[in-house]
Symmetry: C2
């Protein structure tokens, strides 16, 4: 008895997490680099241009909304809001997905309608309730009227390369640098068994046992690796009829092909991207865990299971690389904005 | 004749700016550091906290507006707009002044109503049309609900120091790092006679001869050095009755004490902070030069004088220090924003 007490005490003090043993599952750490398309190789100059465009609010009609306004890379890559607020205080219909690790997804937007980050980047700029530019001609006319961008485009793409295709290529190249490796989960998977707490290991096991991995598999917890442009979709809610359908208005927006199909989102950094769901109506992560288990797996989890899963999901918050701020090139002696 | 031709040729090719000789005036280069108040000494930890708060949009009612939204340090420290757009698309009445080098001013806001950067920082957060927080109690409740801020406040100010006074002290400490030295003008004044073009030297002389230095004196081109809290004010328009009064609506806002008195703004980086005037109604720098010479000095300048002055003012654009992005601490598993 004395020996046993001593062992328990040791466990409680020093090596608690070793008492939880991970169930067998093919966990994958996040790769350091995402897939890079052949027609848009990375370069330092392209990334620098893309970062500058990403932060430039002059790509919006009012000069107040940049890509970063809704996909804030100083935070979780989103805006902590149910739905974003674009120009003229207009609200979007869907919650801004995180830009972090989006380069690993094989389709973009909640309904996967953009096959690549390049095509995604084309959208918000000319969306009337997001950045509100009339079209990309107007957008490029602005960019061309900012003298400092000429050299940046030339450095990235060569001469006479100031066009929308290259603008979105540059933005996508920057976004492909937005990777968050070395989460406690990644370190655990790579062999550091103290990187996760005992509860997080328990939650990791629960994640497999309950069935979350049916959709949230792969290194990005967003489904299996697929050819770029494919997208990995799931019906949400799969099990209709729970109280959550009404409580969180889950059925109003019918998603892809009006079939309630949605691109499975990454769970990386999910703890820092509340609120949740395509419409941002679910306020907390523990509630979202309950919603998902009910609507997707038809399971009512215990409080303990929910707490363990939330603990595990918190282990998916990675390291956000330090970044320098871009310097937005000026329009010397004048401005686009008159009123 | 041959010798003279050769000398002229040499001048034209290599040392053109040396043909313009600066008139005698006590020009001052920008100091590397601004005045630091005794009750708010700089520290690395305080600056880091201040930068984080400065970029945190959760200090606004909607979570969409940070200090940086209107005083963008990736640009000229303003928003390139006539007047700013705050929460719910509300427009302010006055143009956002640049935050760069504001630490050298002895009063803040267009009407100088804040004696210090600390007091200035209190204002926009609770202004209903800017950041829209109810009061600083609500603001501090939010900041306290973001776990990561606790350590940052403690590192900057010690234990139990999470209060509004310290929040604005931290923001002010960060703003005191926003200095842009080494403009062509500064390098010229320090002895590098090639740092400005011949036209810029001509414009510098015109600046003295026309009388701009009556107000725009000192290292910051914002008036003489004065005790913090004093402010250096001038009536604008001093000479009422020009067409500009109506064209740019210069008389509607009566400024300080309803006397059309305005804090003289810095001219540093003025080329990258269009549009101009307290109401942002003057679209270009050359037009603003005409407006000021007419309304303040009762002079109609020639096109050449205007061009020379604009060239000189472009020599006041300094070096913007490279900055790392702050990381906004998360509200794990939840968000402040429900709709």
């Amino acid at each position: 008895m004395k020996l046993l007490s001593a062992m328990i005490l040791t466990g409680a003090l020093g090596v608690a997490s070793q008492t939880a043993v991970a169930v067998n599952y093919n966990w994958e750490a996040l790769p350091d680099t995402p897939p890079i398309p052949e027609d848009n190789p990375q370069s330092e100059e392209k990334i620098a241009l893309g970062k500058t465009l990403y932060f430039d609010p002059r790509l919006s009609s009012t000069g107040t909304v940049s890509c970063n306004s809704c996909h804030n890379v100083m935070a979780g890559g989103d805006d902590s809001r149910p739905v974003s607020i674009g120009v003229d205080a207009q609200k979007g219909g869907r919650s801004a997905p995180t830009v972090w690790n989006s380069a690993f997804l094989s389709a973009q937007f909640w309904d996967g309608r953009a096959p690549t980050l390049e095509e995604q980047a084309r959208g918000p700029v000319t969306n009337p309730i997001e950045m509100g530019m009339k079209d990309w001609d107007e957008t490029m006319a602005r960019i061309k009227a900012i003298p400092g961008y000429a050299d940046m485009f030339e450095a990235a793409f060569g001469k006479e390369a100031m066009n929308a295709d290259n603008a979105v290529k540059a933005i996508a190249a920057y976004e492909r640098t937005l990777i968050t490796p070395n989460s406690p989960f990644d370190r655990y998977v790579k062999g550091d068994k103290k990187a996760m707490t005992e509860q997080q290991v328990k939650g990791m096991n629960t994640f497999v046992e309950v069935g979350c991995t049916a959709c949230h598999s792969g290194a990005n917890f967003a489904g299996p690796t697929m050819p770029m442009g494919t997208g990995f979709f799931m019906k949400f809610p799969t099990f209709e009829g729970s109280d959550y359908d009404k409580k969180y208005n889950l059925l109003e927006d019918k998603g892809k092909d009006d079939q309630h199909m949605w691109r499975v989102p990454t769970l990386r950094n999910v703890a820092v991207t509340a609120p949740y769901a395509h419409n941002g109506q679910v306020p907390t992560l523990d509630e979202m865990v309950r919603v998902m288990s009910k609507t997707q797996l038809n399971k009512d989890l215990s409080d303990e299971q929910v707490a363990d899963l939330v603990a595990f999901l918190n282990a998916l918050t990675g390291e956000f690389p330090e970044q320098t701020m871009p310097r937005l090139p000026a329009t010397p002696n004048t401005s686009f904005f008159k009123e």
